[in-house]
């Protein structure tokens, strides 16, 4: 049953509750007006496309809710597999083969054990039973062999995991970017992108980005290509006025993931900080509005803006006034005291 909403049709109640009646060896179920035969192998799945459904307790107790919504960790894992599969197909096939072989070996070992026990139990005169002894000998050879194989398999598995870990940064980064485009739906409900589309983009990026034998370098190419192609492809479907928002989203996300963005700074950028009614010095100028003055005072409390208010009080007529009047403030040369700030922090200022 696909695309169900938050309410389930009461008609399927008997099925959900498994109200099965056993009559004369056959199982039946009353559904609607009809009594139908119920097969033991029957399975019933429900799926919903809702992102964040709320199911009443009545429903939750009758079904097992399983959250298949893509998460950051889940997506990173999937993308990691995707990139390893493309970059290093051998590894992936090797891993697959290992799983199969491991299972086979386990079964074989079991067989060998059974054989040994069987021989020991049924043979009346074990010492005189040449066939029995031979079986035991063979069994030993087989199990030794399997043990050796298993040891090799374990080693290969460790190797594979190591190689996979190398690609982790790309996977995490790409996974983070996906949630940027998922966020675009909040800007305009028209902006919907499917996971398949995104994975397709990633595939293309893997294939078309520049190759390199150096893993570090290759990761760089991958990241660059993915970001560019993502931006190109998404922008094609955005209104002009939403493009800067998208760039900004991407930049903030990347900075956040790289750990170069202070959460307090981001919050300040978005809200201008919250006034707590703290005492602050009087505004020394007539060109800085009260609101801006408050913001400036709050900014001074954040990391790397120490002494901002004092500096402003001293220099408001000089550097700050010139900067304020400049027609291209983004290119204006920072005074010495604030040169250590990065671009985002300049923006705050």
């Amino acid at each position: 049953m696909e695309n169900v909403y938050e309410e389930l049709d009461p008609a399927i109640e008997p099925l959900l509750q498994k109200q099965i009646v056993v009559k004369g060896g056959s199982m039946t179920l009353k559904l609607g007006d009809a009594i139908i035969e119920y097969a033991k192998e029957f399975k019933f799945y429900l799926t919903t496309k809702l992102r964040n459904p709320h199911y009443l307790p009545e429903v939750s107790t009758k079904v097992t809710l399983i959250n298949f919504m893509i998460t950051f960790e889940g997506l990173s894992d999937q993308l990691l597999n995707q990139v390893v599969e493309k970059e290093n197909p051998d590894l992936q096939t090797k891993k697959e083969a290992l799983v199969i072989e491991g299972a086979k070996n386990k079964n074989k070992l079991q067989e060998v054990e059974d054989q040994i026990l069987h021989t020991l139990q049924t043979s009346e005169d074990i010492l005189g039973d040449a066939a029995g002894i031979e079986i035991l000998q063979n069994a030993k050879v087989v199990s030794d062999d399997i043990n050796k194989k298993q040891a090799v398999a374990e080693k290969v598995e460790i190797e594979i995991d190591e190689a996979r870990n190398g690609y982790k940064p790309v996977a995490t980064r790409t996974s983070g970017l996906f949630f940027c485009i998922a966020d675009l739906a909040n800007v305009d409900p028209m902006y919907q992108y499917s996971l398949d589309f995104y994975k397709g983009l990633f595939d293309v990026a893997i294939l078309s980005s520049e190759k390199s034998d150096d893993l570090e370098e290759r990761l760089g190419f991958l990241n660059k290509e993915m970001l560019e192609s993502l931006y190109r492809n998404i922008c094609r479907s955005l209104f002009e006025r939403h493009k800067p928002i998208f760039s900004c989203l991407l930049t903030i996300k990347l900075k956040e993931m790289a750990g170069t963005l202070d959460a307090a700074h981001k919050k300040f950028m978005l809200t201008g900080g919250v006034s707590l009614g703290d005492a602050m010095p009087d505004n020394p100028t007539d060109w800085v509005l009260e609101k801006q003055w408050g913001e400036l005072n709050r900014l001074a409390k954040l990391k790397s803006f120490d002494g901002l208010v004092e500096h402003f009080l001293e220099n408001h007529a000089g550097f700050f006034r010139n900067w304020y009047d400049s027609s291209s403030p983004q290119d204006f040369e920072m005074c010495e005291k604030w040169q250590h700030l990065d671009k985002f922090e300049h923006l705050c200022l």
Partner: protein, 144 residues
């Protein structure tokens, strides 16, 4: 002959010791697994594992033996089955695999919250051979 079976002896001994340990821990492990299957399907991985960790602590307080670090996949998972699910299109991250195990073991019918249609695709390809029928509530006569 005794020499021939010597290798088996060490292996069997190790195996029996391992089973002994697993057998003791079974109580706690299965308790937590059952709780997870019954209650935690609706939550995200992080939340699930946080809760599982708490449960492990609770188990230790009440002196219920368990293997310490809980993982649904290692208690109830079966590598071959998981691989088959993967072939049918189950995304191969730990979270999805956990979901699939819950789906496999639960007694109630599963309801998948599935905005990216990943579970839907997986189920369709897995159950194709068994004659899966896809219905919607909006199909007027789906009860038939």
């Amino acid at each position: 002959m005794i020499k021939g079976l010597g290798g088996e002896k060490t292996r069997w001994k190790a195996e029996s010791e391992r089973l002994q340990a697993v057998f003791v821990n079974l109580t706690g492990d299965i308790l937590i697994s059952s709780g997870m299957i019954a209650y935690l399907g609706a939550f995200t991985t992080v939340f699930r594992s946080d809760l599982a960790d708490e449960w492990v602590k609770l188990c230790e307080e009440k002196e219920i033996p368990n293997s310490g670090k809980f993982s649904l996949e290692s208690v109830l998972g079966n590598a071959v089955q998981i691989r088959n699910w993967g072939l049918a299109g189950l995304p191969n991250d730990a979270f999805s695999i956990e979901n699939a195990i819950i789906n496999d073991k639960t007694k109630r019918w599963p309801l998948f919250i599935d905005p990216q249609i990943q579970a839907n695709k997986w189920l369709k390809s897995m159950e194709k051979e068994r004659g899966l029928k896809v219905l919607k509530f909006t199909d007027g006569n789906y009860l038939k």
